[in-house]
């Protein structure tokens, strides 16, 4: 089972493997973070931001500013740039839906994990790490071998979710490669 998790973890770049476990826990950087007081809360918030995606998080933050302006001046026309181009309404809508959808998925996964997780915080952190494929961040705060607390059935379920969450990245890489091919 552990080997299966290792393979899936490596395939999905999520850092739940024994290999990541042994490497990251030995890093000087990990020890430095611990000495700086890297708490569960800080790690959890970083994991959530990463699971949302930096781009969506930034666009959403800009959209929040826009919503405040619209609250004060309902008829105002507010637009803003990101990466040197104007964002369309559809892109703005898409980013906020992405954020809400990711958070909703994390809450649902937290509920599923709660059937076997040890505590509320474990369930919260693991669900965010699974959705974002960021298990390596949990290793940075010393939470090693977290998947071991689950039954085989739950471990297989987690592996499937890890792969599903990575599909988007694989699709993006594929598209970029195709674009490059076409350009050549």
């Amino acid at each position: 089972m552990q080997t299966f998790i290792d393979i899936i973890s490596v395939l999905s770049f999520s850092g739940f493997s024994r290999f990541a476990d042994s490497v990251i826990s030995k890093l000087a950087f990990t020890k430095m973070l611990a000495s700086f007081g890297m708490t569960d809360a800080i790690a959890w918030i970083i994991i959530i931001i990463l699971s949302i995606g930096i781009n969506d998080a930034i666009i959403c933050a800009k959209n929040v500013g826009r919503s405040f302006i619209l609250k004060l001046h309902p008829k105002a026309v507010v637009s803003f740039k990101y990466k040197k181009r104007l964002l369309s309404n559809s892109e703005l809508e898409q980013s906020s839906i992405n954020v809400l959808f990711t958070l909703a998925c994390e809450l649902v996964l937290t509920f599923i994990l709660s059937f076997e997780a040890a505590s509320v915080s474990d369930a919260l952190m693991l669900s965010a790490a699974i959705i974002g494929n960021d298990g390596w961040l949990l290793l940075l705060i010393g939470k090693t071998n977290l998947l071991a607390q689950f039954s085989y059935g739950m471990q297989i379920f987690i592996c499937i979710v890890l792969l599903l969450c990575r599909v988007n990245l694989i699709r993006t890489i594929k598209t970029k490669l195709e674009l490059k091919k076409n350009a050549l």
């Binding site: 809450l107 509920f111 915080s121």
Partner: protein
């Protein structure tokens, strides 16, 4: 810039209203022969009423004055912070809560109908103070400014923007043509339901004082009890069921009661939000009941139902009364309770949280997006109960949820700096922001919020007020755009 004349005038009226409200706990103190507390309340009343009236008299009449959106936000935001400061004065000067930050936290928790407490020995508090603590729930539940609009139409200013900023939900229901008329009817329904609960509790043998304070907490969906063990103190099935049912009723849109009492019962039972709200309660109760029975936490189905139903009603309506320590329940039950904390009651009710209707709208948005992925050119409106929801309402709902998430995560980070674990920090933030009361772990149902530093208590107090006013009203005051000319 903001309209200073109108704002000052409204704030003076607020001062008078809070001052007059303090007369009632003052009378309670006299009845229970608590002379020093009675003097505190009457002195506060005198000062606030005199200053308020002077202000009203000195400021020239503002007939036909236009109240803009910005003024509405400012009035409501500042008034709620002012209520909490003014309401804390009797606690502080009587020495019942010797620290002003603690007194402010307790009052903010009262007015915002949160129900989180810093008190470690509640039973030792004087009766007058306990009454005031619960009465703040009742005042804050429907909205103290709505009350002001209802009883003081002579203010001479449009109350629409104030009512809009204070009532809950993505859209405002007006049950009559005028704001004053709507506010009056809502308060009549609110007072009627409170009176009914008091009668039912008294009929079951509860003391009149206890029934009054618990009814205030129930209908206001507050949850501050006069006992450390909350409703569990009585261990009485009848009381628990009466309170649970009234909590459930308080979580329903009050406009629907108007339709019910005016012979349009069909409108109430056809309301999509009402139906979803009841479905959520049934599903959550059955799930928790099942888990409690399967894990052997309770042996009988009656016990499992009794505690599960009460806690589900208490959490979804964001009341926060307790009959059992849900922090000791199996983890899936705790996660269901955590999810209910986000959901909250119906729009237009006294409950906090994000409201059922918003989640229905978000569900509609996500469904539409998925459809658009499959059929790129499809244009389909989001419909709730067959009615099309306007795009700007959907935008506001989306953004409110995003802002909620940002503030909740940021605040969790700040609270965790106080040295508490993630579960405590996150649940404390959600418990305050959604106006629930108890959280998990160190702020669980059998614990309190006394452990936090003064700075964190102020942060949590602001979160309670922001949560009660559904974020924008308070958050907009902290944006540079608000203060720009």
């Amino acid at each position: 810039m903001i309209n200073r004349k109108i704002i000052t005038k409204v704030l003076c009226v607020v001062l008078v209203v809070v001052g007059i409200a303090m007369l009632i706990p003052g009378i309670v103190s006299v009845i229970y022969k608590e002379s020093s507390e009675a003097i505190c309340f009457f002195a506060c009343t005198a000062c606030m009423v005199i200053v308020g009236f002077l202000g009203i008299k000195l400021i020239p009449k503002t007939n036909n004055a236009v109240l803009r959106m910005r003024d509405g936000f400012f009035i409501v935001g500042i008034s709620w912070i002012l209520f909490s400061i003014l309401g804390a004065i009797p606690f502080y000067i009587s020495g019942s809560i010797p620290n002003f930050v603690d007194a402010f936290f307790e009052t903010a928790s009262g007015f915002s109908t949160t129900g989180s407490t810093i008190l470690t020995n509640i039973e030792a508090m004087p009766k007058g103070m306990l009454f005031w603590r619960s009465f703040t729930h009742w005042l804050g539940g429907m909205g103290i400014l709505v009350l002001t609009i209802a009883i003081l139409p002579m203010l001479g200013i449009g109350g629409q923007k104030i009512m809009r900023a204070e009532t809950t939900g993505p859209t405002m229901d007006k049950i009559t043509f005028t704001v004053t008329g709507s506010a009056k009817r809502l308060y009549i329904i609110y007072a009627g339901l409170t009176a009914l609960e008091v009668i039912l509790l008294c009929a079951g043998g509860m003391d009149i004082f206890d029934s009054l304070v618990h009814s205030f907490g129930t209908l206001g969906t507050g949850g501050l009890s006069i006992y450390s063990s909350s409703i569990a103190y009585y261990g009485n099935f009848y009381f628990e069921m009466v309170i649970a049912v009234f909590m459930l009723l308080a979580g329903i849109n009050f406009s629907l009661y108007y339709y019910l009492f005016t012979g349009n019962a069909r409108l109430m039972f056809k309301d999509p939000e009402f139906k979803t709200y009841i479905k959520i309660i049934v599903i959550a109760t059955v799930f928790i009941m099942g888990m409690l029975l399967v894990t052997g936490y309770y042996q009988t189905i009656v016990d499992a139902f009794r505690y599960a139903f009460f806690q589900v009603c208490s959490i979804i309506t964001t009341t926060g009364y307790g009959t059992a320590d849900f922090d000791l329940w199996p983890l899936p039950c705790k996660i269901v309770i955590l999810l209910l904390m986000f959901v909250g009651g119906s729009a237009g009710s006294t409950a906090g949280g994000l409201k059922v209707i918003r989640f229905m709208m978000i569900g509609g948005i996500i469904k539409r997006r998925i459809k658009q992925r499959l059929h790129k050119n499809s244009i389909e409106p989001v419909r709730i109960g067959g009615k099309k929801v306007e795009e700007d309402v959907l935008y506001n709902v989306r953004m409110l949820l995003v802002i909620y998430a940002i503030i909740a995560l940021g605040s969790t980070l700040l609270v965790s700096l106080d040295g508490v674990n993630l579960t405590t920090a996150f649940s404390a933030v959600i418990a305050c922001f959604s106006n629930i009361g108890p959280g998990f772990d160190l702020v669980g149902p059998s614990q309190n919020f006394a452990l936090f530093s003064p700075a964190i208590k102020i942060l949590l107090s602001l979160l309670m007020i922001a949560g009660r006013l559904e974020i924008y009203t308070i958050a907009v005051l902290f944006t540079p755009q608000f203060w720009k000319k």
